[in-house]
């Protein structure tokens, strides 16, 4: 990754952060000191800019297609206030032959911009058993009308490649604790990347239907059916390497958050 590109990315992020900080309102001015208070005391009647932190694995599962098993995770975490957060996102699949596939890890700064959506910017690193790639990321995440959870992110790598990812899911409550969740993730790339077996255009889809039981809000085992598919040039790469281009598997895992 060239220095110039890295510096540009850092500058953009710094710019975003300072704009955000500038817009973050200052605490109310304290007029004359109260009895028992010295001027400049920081005591507030309420503290509404608290920092919270949460992490969640939306997928932590074994996937079995009758002959071999894979292990997949997809998780997110954030720390921050109502308006500003730092996010970490990670996903990957551990294949039955011991290699790591589809590793994507993102480190983002997130700013709440509308009622339901955040604007996110940062870095994505594809780290798995294949050669590593680094990208700058810019996207939105939030709750779309009709309660669809939506993530749409665009990426630009230092070699001039562009990419995009769309993730959506929906929680259908069958009962108060039994929830059916269709989920879909689609990746696009502007140029082929043969060493990562990724082709141009629509590259792959990872979609599933998971039925979870919320023993507790924070712990819900689930059973599901997932489909991983490759398209176009990516499918060609896969066929040439003797791998499948479409795979249906049974998934069993747990959805946890803290």
């Amino acid at each position: 990754m060239s220095t110039a590109r890295i510096l540009t990315l850092v500058a953009v992020l710094a710019g975003l952060a300072t704009t955000a900080a500038g817009q973050t309102p200052a605490a109310t001015d304290q007029p004359a000191a109260l009895p028992g208070m010295s001027p400049g005391d920081a005591v507030q009647p309420v503290y509404d800019q608290e920092i919270f932190a949460h992490g969640m694995f939306s997928q932590l599962e074994g996937r079995w297609n009758g002959s071999n098993t894979q292990f997949r995770w997809e998780g997110q975490g954030w720390v921050g206030t109502d308006l500003d957060k730092l996010w970490i996102k990670s996903e990957g699949t551990l294949l039955s032959n011991g290699t790591l596939d589809d590793g994507q890890h993102q480190f983002l700064y997130s700013r709440a911009v509308t009622t339901y959506f955040d604007l996110q910017a940062g870095l994505r690193s594809d780290i798995d058993s294949r050669p590593t790639r680094n990208w700058g990321a810019l996207g939105i995440q939030g709750l779309a009308p009709y309660f669809f959870d939506l993530e749409l992110t665009g990426y630009a790598s230092d070699e001039g490649h562009l990419a995009a990812k769309l993730e959506a899911s929906y929680d259908l409550l069958l009962t108060q604790r039994l929830i059916l969740q269709p989920q879909i993730e689609v990746n696009l790339y502007s140029k082929a990347d043969p060493s990562r077996m990724v082709g141009a255009g629509f590259s792959d889809i990872d979609t599933g239907l998971r039925l979870r039981y919320e023993i507790d809000r924070k712990f819900a085992p689930y059973l599901g059916v997932v489909y991983e598919g490759k398209f176009g040039q990516t499918a060609n790469f896969a066929r040439r390497a003797g791998e499948s281009t479409g795979d249906v598997r049974i998934a069993f895992g747990v959805r946890v958050w803290f």
Binding site: N68, F71, I215, K218, F219, P221
Partner: protein, 162 residues
């Protein structure tokens, strides 16, 4: 190898799931055999005066403040010497001549087993409060009065800072 790892993980998750079942906030079975808690009767209304409905009054408050007087003098003032007196050292926060009390922040008083505290003390009537300045570090002795409250019997500036 992956398969066996995965199987182990899934088996391991089962007890975790059972433990997680015991989430907080689900009330357990009610107490049995305990005596029924009774409400405390605050008493009746007493004779009702027909002409005295509740008024939604809006009083304006006079400023309630602590009055402090600048003082001079550094002699010890003593009401009496008592064998039951406990000794303390502390800082005067404020003086209330109207009620003949001072508010002190004092160090632990080992004779009484008191931790360091800030509290009001009545002062023996013979002690002149005019010579006690807020902010002064003082030595003092206190004695328990028949009513149970502690009263300052002797007080003098201790010298040194706060």
């Amino acid at each position: 190898m992956i398969a066996s790892l995965y199987r182990a993980l899934m088996i391991g998750l089962l007890p975790i799931a059972l433990i997680a079942c015991m989430s907080p906030g689900r009330p357990t079975v009610a107490d049995e055999g305990a005596a029924v808690p009774l409400g405390v009767d605050l008493g009746g209304s007493g004779p009702v005066m027909a002409s005295a409905p509740q008024a939604a009054t809006r009083p304006a408050f006079a400023a309630e403040g602590r009055v402090s007087h600048p003082q001079q003098g550094s002699e010890m003032q003593m009401a009496h010497e008592g064998r039951n007196d406990a000794h303390g050292i502390g800082t005067v926060n404020s003086v209330d001549p109207a009620q003949h009390k001072i508010n002190l922040s004092h160090q632990p008083i080992s004779e009484l087993g008191w931790p360091s505290m800030t509290m009001d003390f009545s002062v023996a009537a013979t002690i002149d409060l005019k010579s006690i300045k807020p902010g002064t570090r003082v030595n003092f002795t206190i004695e328990q009065q028949p009513g149970g409250m502690y009263e300052i019997q002797a007080i003098a500036p201790a010298g040194g800072g706060r």
